[in-house]
Amino acid sequence: MKKLLTAMILLGLLGSFTLSAQATPQQDLAEFRDYFKNRFPKTPFNDYINGVYSIDAASREQWEEIEEFPPYELSISKGEELFNKPFANGKGYADCFPNGGIGIAARYPFFDSKSGKVITLESAINTCRQSNGEEPLGWQKGAIADVSAYMHYTSRGNIINVQVPNDPAALAAYERGKNHFYAKRGQLNMACADCHVYNSGNKIRADLLSPALGHVTHFPVYRSKWGGMGTLHRRYGGCNKQVRAKPYPAQSDEYRSLEYFTSYMSNGLESNGPGARK
């Protein structure tokens, strides 16, 4: 463990790429894309939506076997049923979302100036429920992941286009997410960037580290490890725990900001959720 840690720290120091604290989101995005273009010159831009499978043929083959009939299909069907079932008051999810909730998942997250919050799809799902007298769903798995899976399925192929409007509060949320991404945390003292930027494509024991470019496009995700569907914030919590850091609550401002930043960094890529991963 100590050897691994030392190697990681050394590599972190040698990594010369950090987004400048003074840059605009657009500048950040350009630098982010350039970095990965140089690191993985053979990977076509849109293939980053397939994560580690865009940079490793062996695991890609296994993933394609699973994609023959992916387990998330069960979740999509369940999600569709849940989505179409009316609330006790007779209304439904379709009444809360533009276009009846179909094909709009890639519009999330977005910054809502009125509330001063980053609105994620899952938070919108629960807001819809609560404003119609229903109990909110748990944030990490189960029904919310199924509904999100269905909504994302209807949005496959849509291009991610997160906006950071000219609003200091929006910029602050973006910067908060960016800081979380680059800050070292936990007993292992590692940042998201340590694995997914500086060491993307390298191995950590037997795992290949996926690039942060395109990280969020395939959520929600069916992980073999979970044996089920989970949301992006569930995964953020898991990652924090993996570096022995205390996770933030799902849908906390911290994770919403992180989602805001990482989604912005995936702008221009196709939304391809739900996905299957190990």
């Binding site: 062996a58 699973i66 994609e67 069907s77 399925y153 950590i204 024991r205 795992d207 391809n272 190990k278």
Partner: protein, 157 residues
Amino acid sequence: MTSMKRRIFLKGSLATGAVGIAVSTGLLTPRVSLAAWSKAAFEAKDVNGAVSALFNTSDMASSDKISIKAPDIAENGAVVPVSVTTSIDGVSSISLLADKNATPLTAEFTLGPGTEGYVSTRIKMGKTANVIAVVKAGDKLYSAQKEVKVTIGGCGG
């Protein structure tokens, strides 16, 4: 890109409801009799024991007419995609074992007369092991194996 096409195709098939229609009357439900499920075979702690319990013999001839498609290194030991194809004539059964699982037998597929020598599924493997396919044709048993490595991930398991 084949993967994109496949995914868009999925969208089409779900939309047209090509997925299963419920069998509502008991008359149409194929009778499932669990008498055939061999406790002895599924609880056997070694390959020969499992095969004997299934077929009353553990005499297997190695065959190059059986091919096993499985990853060299499993991404996750809980979900290992395995396919077995065999060109041996008159196949009546294909069994799948993982020789380092506590109870190696994972599945046995009894094939009908017009059914091809091919099965595909996903299995759990506790550790690096040989995936063994046992094919029954006539009253003879044939086998082939492939090693699949199962690793501990770096991201906290």
